[in-house]
Chain length 199, copies 2
């Protein structure tokens, strides 16, 4: 015997959130019930609305409840003629936080992974190819992750870009600025050697 | 410029959960949107229903959508004549997980804290006193936390129990079984010396 069915159900339901185990779910449920019902109701509303209304930007595939996300809808960003290809919507946020990139994005929502049945179609690459075929795009910057799958995906898109005579580049991977060499993992270190620049 | 208003709002709303900062909120929002809309909708429903329907057990004050929680509703548990007083609903779960205690609970939902305006009334102590005044209760076990406030609360309730000639005890605090002495904090160690038992 534990709590009443509804409280048990709330604790169970909270476990669908990533990184939330039984103990945290319990703590969340009790905190909302005890101290923050207004915030709990607000979360329930926004969550229900998001799950129904949020779709994908028809240009870059990121999450939006509009036809186009604010970045694609900005003429200024599109006129740059540069598309940065990333794996996830979180990557867009990370790059936007830097504020250096002024073009627009294409969000794959994954990477090529034949064993999981994720091919070019699942990543929306036909849509990307249409955009590369138009005259508006001058350069593609590949910012997929430096993993086996991310690299394979980058190569696949690079070939596609070349067929359409679009300049293609891959962001540099290496020792982070301010990072101490001895604490950098060996894969990153290998990448930083391979990507060394002659002075 | 970030995401569309609704996605931003979802990330904001998730931050009401304890232990969830901006990065985790973002990860939660994207995971639900990308992979788990069914679970997200379910969470929204259960959350909305819980925030409206879950109240307090009229006997022990724990969370329940019924008049009485399953433990108070069990004649077997009430007939034990023992009430264990705890600070939070989570404490009930922790003790129930042990399975050794067969009586019922009284959940204070806090501890005496005059500076925060939390007195006997806020902890439902009049309700507890009614129960102590009845002939059904033989013993009160105080399981409030071993803090200044928890101790003060325990003393207050102990006095109340004595006035009604109800046996009152406090759970033992000390070095946990399997715990190594050198890793136990000094307060716990002091409690374990004070509570030493003659052999
Ligand atoms: Zn877009
Ligand atoms: Zn109860």
């Amino acid at each position: 015997m534990r709590f009443s069915p509804l409280v048990d159900e709330l604790i169970q339901a909270l476990k669908c959130l990533p990184g939330v185990g039984p103990k945290s779910a319990q703590r969340m449920a009790f905190q909302l019930l005890e101290r923050d019902r207004v915030a709990g109701r607000k979360l329930a509303d926004v969550l229900a609305q998001s799950m129904s209304d949020v779709g994908h930007c028809q240009t870059c595939r990121t999450f939006t409840e509009e036809k186009q996300c604010p970045i694609c809808a900005s003429a200024k960003r599109s006129q740059q003629g540069t598309i940065c290809v990333v794996e996830t919507a979180a990557d867009v946020l990370a790059i936007e936080a830097g504020g250096h990139f002024l073009g627009r994005y294409f969000v794959l929502l994954g990477h090529l992974s034949p064993l999981d049945g994720i091919g070019p179609e699942e990543l929306g690459l036909a849509l990307l190819e249409q955009q590369l075929a138009s005259d508006d795009v001058k350069e593609v910057i590949l910012a997929t992750n430096p993993t086996v799958e991310g690299d394979a995906t980058a190569h696949f898109i690079a070939d596609m870009a070349k067929r359409h005579h679009v300049t293609v580049s891959r962001i540099a991977h290496g020792v982070p600025v301010g990072g101490e060499l001895e604490y950098v993992d060996s894969t990153t270190l290998a990448l930083s050697f391979n990507g060394r620049v002659e002075l």
